[in-house]
């Protein structure tokens, strides 16, 4: 029980729109254990982001149940149980990088010396030490996204919810950040839920891959990765990697069968 971070049972979410109801999620069952790196993959409209937002208490499910750390998502949010990384870095231009990372710490009432210590620590974790006093516009897009990850890491949340954090970045930067994210995950022992629509990214990063399909949004396959936790970039040329990628692709294709 204590090992389960997310537990969804028959979770459904229907948006009422002018064109009739949209079933963003239908009967989703999923368990995420502590220390897992779970990727959600699927085409647009499959509900992967919606599912992440339900975990974060940013959307309210219309059916079924979900717990985060054994609590309702709202309780978990109020206890600041997770750090959320959005697709855009969303740094405030009027705050320095350090100031941006400090913001959630200020809101949560951490003491000043504690804030200083934590900012220094997370900047080192994302390899941005020395950039504390720079402003966001002085950093590249990849560095800004790293700063936003640092911001989500700065407070004590064991769960990271990441919504296509590298979606707007180019391939090379993305590879680099994926590698760093794995290091970070190994170092911090966090549980990560990661939304993506890149198959190689999902296979490379995850211990568990959740394949989803749209209309209605549902889970079509859950793949437990057999890759070792330690993953150099060239693992992506191994047969095992290609086999998993193949299974993901099959799952995505099956989900598309009805349209």
């Amino acid at each position: 029980m204590s090992d389960i971070v997310i537990e969804a049972k028959k979770l459904s979410l229907t948006f009422e729109t002018n064109d009739g109801p949209v079933h963003a999620l239908q009967d989703v069952d999923l368990t995420i254990n502590k220390g897992d790196f779970v990727s959600f993959i699927g085409p647009s409209g499959c509900g992967k982001t919606t599912f992440l937002r339900v975990m974060a208490d940013l959307e309210q499910p219309t059916g079924g149940s979900i717990t985060v750390n054994g609590m309702s998502p709202e309780e978990a949010r109020l206890k600041r149980a997770y750090g959320y990384v959005f697709q855009a870095a969303g740094l405030y231009p009027w705050r320095t990088i350090g100031g941006n990372i400090r913001l959630p710490l200020e809101i949560m009432g951490y003491s000043k010396e504690n804030r200083v210590r934590r900012v220094k620590k997370v900047l080192e974790l994302v390899h941005l030490d020395g950039f504390e006093n720079k402003f966001p516009w002085q950093l590249s897009g990849g560095m800004q996204q790293r700063a936003s990850i640092a911001r989500a890491l700065s407070f004590d949340a064991d769960l990271m919810l990441m919504d296509e954090p590298f979606g707007a970045l180019d391939e090379i930067v993305r590879d680099h950040l994926n590698e760093q994210l794995l290091e970070l995950w190994a170092e911090t022992n966090k549980t990560i839920a990661f939304v993506t629509h890149s198959i190689p990214e999902a296979v490379y990063l995850s211990t568990k891959i959740v394949v989803m399909s749209p209309r209605p949004g549902r889970v079509t396959d859950v793949i437990e990765s057999t890759l070792p936790r330690e993953r150099p970039l060239d693992i992506r040329e191994s047969q095992e990697f290609l086999d998993i990628a193949h299974r993901v692709r099959e799952g995505l294709r099956a989900g598309h069968g009805d349209d």
């Binding site: 937002r53 949010r77 697709q87 969303g90 405030y92 231009p93």
Partner: protein, 288 residues
């Protein structure tokens, strides 16, 4: 140098040329009238000289206004009732007070509109309606009502300035306080930030680029308000009073110099706010 100032110089020169030509055209009747009565024949050069130097011309020539401006600013002690600097200060003081009051009122209303559903639905129509009433119609009433409760002098004029200047601030700040996108608001929610924190950490800084353009419009409107407020009261001090007195006695040169002074004042106020805007936005990393 010419690249930068050339167009400006050309336009200004064209305006002055047109102004001089119009002065000849507008004042020609009076010049011919005088000539006929004095029984002299008026040549073209005499006509031009006369139309550019009449005492009470329909349209004073630029140099006449310039001389008047010089005589009533540099040549007079600033405490003198004939000093345009003195009158400008009278108008400026109520402009600034009204502008400050209008800015505070505008910001408070915008904060209310953004945070309170009832205010969001009810206040804006009133704000817009308030601006459709001609200020000339409402200004005397404000002054009379405030006088009746014992408030006179600077404050009633400032209230009229406020009435005109709060409007652009409300409109700009409502937009500005709503500038944070859904993602930024969601992010605050994930941190369980209070409304108060969200306001000071996110909404307020996000609104700054919207505030300054509103302030520029607001300060110009406040100046108009202060001048208008001086008209119905028969005020003896202020630029509005100079305009009024000038029109009573047909002192067109005095009217034009007061008008130019008001324009210069408005331009200076807008420029000062522009400078503060540049500095602030650069400091906030929002003008890259």
């Amino acid at each position: 140098m010419w690249q930068r100032f050339g167009p400006v110089v050309t336009v200004v020169a064209a305006i002055f040329a047109l102004w001089y030509v119009m002065a000849v055209v507008m004042n020609a009747n009076w010049a011919y009238d005088k000539a006929r009565r004095a029984d002299v024949e008026l040549g073209f050069s005499e006509l031009v000289v006369d139309t550019w130097s009449q005492k009470k011309p329909r349209l004073p020539a630029p140099h006449q206004v310039a001389v008047e401006l010089w005589n009533t600013t540099a040549m007079k002690s600033i405490t003198s009732k004939r000093s345009l600097v003195f009158h400008s200060w009278i108008t400026l003081s109520s402009t600034l007070l009204g502008f400050a009051m209008g800015t505070v009122l505008g910001i408070l209303l915008a904060v209310g509109i953004v945070h309170n559903k009832a205010m969001n639905l009810s206040v804006m129509p009133w704000v817009i309606a308030s601006q459709t009433i001609p200020i000339l119609a409402i200004a005397p009433m404000i002054i009379v009502v405030l006088n009746a409760v014992g408030i006179s002098g600077l404050v009633p004029k400032a209230v009229i300035s406020m009435y005109l200047s709060f409007f652009p601030v409300v409109v700009g700040m409502v937009k500005g306080l709503r500038a944070p996108d859904a993602m930024q608001m969601d992010q605050m929610r994930t941190w369980n930030a209070s409304k108060w924190t969200t306001f000071w950490a996110l909404r307020w800084p996000s609104s700054v680029p919207y505030l300054f353009p509103s302030l520029k419009i607001g300060v110009a409107a406040a100046l108009v308000g202060a001048i208008v407020a001086e008209l119905p009261t028969g005020a003896v001090r202020g630029l509005g009073a100079r305009l009024l007195a000038g029109s009573y006695y047909g002192q067109t040169i005095q009217i034009w110099s007061a008008l130019l002074m008001a324009a210069a004042l408005a331009a200076s106020l807008v420029m000062i706010i522009g400078q503060i805007e540049n500095y602030t936005l650069r400091k906030m990393g929002m003008s890259q």
